[in-house]
């Protein structure tokens, strides 16, 4: 049944709908593969094997009874640990929430369950989604399936590694400054940050509320579209949720497979997101992809976004400011751990301070202190106030660019996957890594990353970022599916079929079920 893990969600769905394969078989195949490879990769923080098999059995029974289910019913999915799940621990990668089982499901999780998808477990992430490498998880690193000594991206390294290593065909991620798109780029998978407000954040543990967005992680553009259709749309429980009605993203992706889908499409290449600081192989694959698009009838137009230069700076003021406020909820009273101070009186204030010292990791402390500083009297106007003005300027840059073009493109990340430890000692080096993805979050526009080849110098995946105007998410799926089809035709295979085979880890008798 190993072959079942290699299938796309769409292909698996066809076998499930036609009853050639049962949901229990599909789920078992993925759980077996997790057991075989994840001791080493560590994409999952929690695997809910029994619950997954029980859910799958229910789907099989309903299908056998003739019920018409969502096409994705019975398809396994991994869930980023930032999303509340009422039957699985939810830690956001932090010690402060160790063992917490929320009393409710995030809306996106409730929608998955309603559609009959089978949650396999929770995936690793940088603590509270603060990071670009998953090295800031309190529960250890996740390895990149392409190279075990390299980062899987972050903060959603677990979700990206899980789909790239065939442990799940689909996963959920969250993207505050690139946490879906950058991990997709460095693992050769697909990730989409929807329009701000397009997907509910109810039950997503908040990092920076004006930037956070939940979105799909997958191996194909079409799979991401199918998942987007399940999780998207208005949610009255999220006051920032848009009330717009949305077109089918899956239909948009199918449109991209038609002849001439790229004819006359105006593609803007952002001058400021190229050149210095971009790895040679990244630039090479990006330019080759543009050439392929021109040959397919698209028009390439260079556009300038002069204020993108200030995006990283504005982001690292706005995000810490909002995070310092959001993370004030971890007060050792309502949820999470409580740690008493070693000395001094046991007042609520002292217990809260001792708990946060013990429960938060270094990056979380760094950003809370930075955010507290940015919001302090005397600095507020110069820092936070100015950052909000930069946000206006970046929105204007996008508006001007989308006046000329249909979609914007850049490399998804300046480099391929870097090695563990390479950027840990220098916070700014880690922060600047998000230069390509941050502008979309600041402006609220949707963005997608798809694989476009391997960098010749290191053989590691390169991602293409596609951005569309706010609410034009469907355009990403049409263009993304068209490019994916072109590239796969030119290669003669999919990107992830080239990933090195993973060696199953020895099972130890102490492990569950291994007797």
């Amino acid at each position: 049944m190993t072959y079942l893990t290699k299938l796309s969600a769409a292909a698996l769905s066809e076998l499930l709908v036609s009853k050639q394969v049962s949901a229990v078989e599909a789920t078992s195949a993925h759980l077996d593969h997790i057991t075989a490879v994840d001791t080493d990769l560590h994409a999952f923080l929690h695997v809910a094997g029994e619950a997954a098999l029980a859910t799958a059995a229910q789907i099989d029974a309903r299908r056998a009874a003739g019920e018409v289910l969502n096409p994705l019913a019975g398809v396994p999915i991994a869930i980023k640990d930032v999303l509340a799940t009422q039957d699985m621990p939810t830690t956001a990668g932090s010690k402060i929430l160790e063992g917490w089982v929320p009393p409710y499901d995030a809306t996106v999780v409730a929608r998955l369950r309603a559609a009959g998808l089978v949650p396999l477990g929770k995936t690793n992430m940088d603590e509270f989604a603060m990071g670009s490498s998953t090295e800031h998880s309190a529960y250890g690193i996740t390895r990149n399936p392409w190279d075990r000594d390299r980062i899987p991206g972050g903060s959603g390294g677990g979700s990206a590694a899980a789909v790239a290593s065939f442990q799940a065909p689909l996963a959920l991620g969250s993207d505050t400054g690139g946490s879906i798109r950058q991990p997709a780029a460095v693992t050769g998978s697909v990730g989409v940050k929807p329009t701000y407000g397009g997907v509910s954040r109810y039950g997503a543990i908040a990092l920076a509320s004006s930037l956070d967005q939940v979105g799909p992680v997958s191996r194909t553009v079409y799979d991401a579209a199918l998942l987007h259709d399940v999780i998207g749309g208005h949610d009255p429980l999220d006051s920032t949720s848009l009330t717009d009605s949305w077109p089918s993203m899956a239909a948009a992706a199918r449109d991209g497979l038609k002849d001439g889908a790229l004819t006359g499409v105006r593609i803007g290449v952002i001058k400021e997101l190229s050149g210095d600081g971009f790895q040679a192989g990244v630039t090479q694959r990006f330019n080759e992809t543009l050439a392929l698009l021109v040959a397919a009838g698209a028009e390439i137009i260079e556009v300038s976004a002069p204020n993108f230069e200030y995006a990283v700076a504005a982001y690292y003021l706005i995000l810490p400011a909002e995070a310092s406020s959001n993370l004030a909820r971890f007060d050792s009273v309502r949820f999470g751990i409580r740690v008493n101070p070693e000395s001094g009186s046991l007042t609520s204030e002292h217990v809260m301070s001792a708990t946060r010292e013990a429960g938060f990791g270094p990056e979380v402390k760094r950003r809370i202190i930075l955010g507290t500083y940015a919001l302090s009297a005397g600095y507020y106007d110069a820092y936070y106030g100015s950052a909000q003005k930069v946000r206006t300027l970046i929105q204007r840059d996008f508006a001007a660019a989308f006046g000329q073009v249909d979609v914007l493109m850049s490399p998804s990340a300046p480099t391929t996957a870097f090695k563990f430890g390479e950027k840990l000692a220098d916070p700014m080096a880690m922060y600047i890594n998000d230069v390509t993805t941050i502008p979309a979050n600041l402006a609220g526009v949707p963005g997608m990353s798809i694989p476009i080849g391997l960098a010749p110098e290191d053989g590691l995946p390169v991602g293409l970022q596609i951005m569309a105007p706010a609410k034009a998410d469907a355009r990403l799926y049409t263009v993304g599916a068209a490019i994916e089809q072109l590239l796969e035709a030119s290669w003669g295979h999919t990107m992830l079929s080239q990933a090195p085979a993973l060696t199953p880890t020895e099972m130890f008798a102490s492990e569950e079920g291994a007797v």
Partner: protein, 98 residues
């Protein structure tokens, strides 16, 4: 280098309610100085006539109907609490005895 001092970091940590060790304060003083130097450039382009954007997709007055809807039970609400007394959260003393 911006003038972030260890005393300032200690004060910020107090405001943020995080006990920090002397080593953490030293490291954060260095990091914060470096980060603030890099991000201070936002003021270069933020002119007085540029309006601020706080939210990418502005919505105002998002209301719902004023009707009772299902919510967490007391048991659910208390399920994650580190300490409880009956159907209430138990907290350490609010006021110091000193």
């Amino acid at each position: 280098m911006s003038e972030i001092t260890a005393e300032q970091v200690a004060h910020l940590a107090y405001l943020a309610r995080i006990d920090l060790s002397p080593l953490e304060i030293t490291n954060l003083t260095h990091d914060l100085g470096q980060i603030v130097d890099s991000i201070a450039k936002v003021s270069e382009v933020a002119t007085a006539d540029t309006p601020a954007t706080s939210h990418p997709m502005p919505l105002t007055n998002v209301y719902r109907e004023d009707v009772v809807v299902p919510s967490l039970t007391v048991e659910q609400a208390l399920s994650g609490a580190p300490d409880r007394a009956g159907d209430k959260f138990r907290v350490p003393a609010i006021l110091d005895e000193e």
